[in-house]
Amino acid sequence: MEKRQLVISENVQVARDPLGRPTFRIVLSVPQGSSDSVGQEFREKSERSQTAPAARSLRMRAGQFVDIAIPGFFLRRPISVCDCSDDRLMLYYKVVGDGTQLLSTLPAGTQLDVLTGLGNGFRPDACREAALLAGGGLGVAPLYLLARELLALGREVTVVLGFNSAGEVVLEEAFRALGVRTLIATMDGSAGVKGFVTDAIAQAAPAYDYFYTCGPMPMMKALCAALPAPGQASLEERMGCGAGFCYGCSIRTRSGVARVCKDGPVFDKEDILW
């Protein structure tokens, strides 16, 4: 975990769901010529280091998330990382309540206080040859970075993106540009296969030895029950600290009580008590 001051370089609407709720893509960057990391400042102080902290990489693992302080709100808002580089993070968020509504009004250039590097992330090396990635709604966002990690390991990747309707689809072109097999399912049939991601999977019958999923709980539950292969799912829970010390996000798993923010959000299929 690190606390960083990042600047919005882009914050644009890219889609909208049938209820009229917009999806935004936001890009956060390290401000030019600054050392913005508080965690590092206190660590170095205590190590009595005299050297100025160098700009640290923003890179995170797929399935990890950031926790964004939104002006005027007490608690931060957790959002998964969709893509990252040394000095930029790309996230997708849906406007669902007051916090994300306010976030959507912030112009480029606004500085945000962000906790980065939270959560355990997916384990791409659990897949031996071919991976199936299944996302529902903005659950597709972390799968993009995961697809890149899997490709870097030489795994074959099929991704299934599930949405309510065509107007809500995001990242389809980005996945195709990676060269991965990309399937779409929509509830109303306005794009791709009509139905759930499970319907699209049944129809296309991709070969895979391991699956990864992120999306609404009912979707992930159905998927974990339907797919015979082992896999991992990224869970969601109301959070306080987002960093493992308030015990606000504890759930029961087969291997005991776990904090979604720290021990998760990614859990093995076998571990999850739905």
Partner: protein, 303 residues
Amino acid sequence: MVKDLGISLCGLHFANPVVPASGTFGFGLELADAFDLNLLGGISLKGTTREARYGNPTPRIAEACGGMLNAVGLQNPGIDALVEDKVPALRKIYRGVVIANISGFSVGEYAACCARADACEGIDVLEVNVSCPNVHNGGMAFGTDPQAAAAVTRAVREVSRKPVFVKLSPNVSDIVSIARACEDAGADGLTLVNTFLGMRIDIRARRPVLANGTGGYSGRAIFPVALRMVHQVAHACRIPVMGCGGVATAADVIEMMMAGASVVQVGSENVRNPYACPEIIAALPELMDKLGIDKLSDIIATV
């Protein structure tokens, strides 16, 4: 100008008055990688009971204006794990004051847990939580009645040699009468306040946001109420007070101390900013300089 942030309390030395409040800093270990814990004057550990507890179902956390609601419900690994695992592990990396926060469902349970904590070498202070609003038939039931609070205090006092601080609930009509009852029963000090019992409703789903229905309200918004209570109690009792409630800045720390707090606990601010305590501590010397304060302990209960 070198500023003196040190505080002496019940024979203990705090390098500075800033202490993360119970339940908002885990067992310290969770934040060991975030910053050097030795920057902290003390640490109040997560509330512990005799038996391990899962706590309440989720959602346990809700946003509220100027603060938050929690209904964690005392999730903890039990007193044995505290004294055998958590405290020894923390002591390997932390030299400051360690405060064990103890909860119970009967006078006997409080006494049994405190006896165990008292015998644990790494623990310096027992903080007896008679004010948790998120468990049934326990916690706050002991902190809202002077006789019950005194009974717990007396029982704990009998089994411990270490300083006993009783942590009071603000959900009472007369906090001074509870504070005096604890003082008379032998408390060495008081921590106040715990959270305010609150509630939020999801107006679309038409049900409470928290699975528990109600929860404890804390954070910046409660600061003036907590400050008033610290002021009242510090002036009515002779024993020292650890002030808690809505503290978020170095200025808040100084205000709490002027009101009567010897040590200041920072709670929910950690939840929204894990670096809140080191940031506050780092900001204190400059603010003291502006205010013409050389020695922080000089300002306690001066207003």
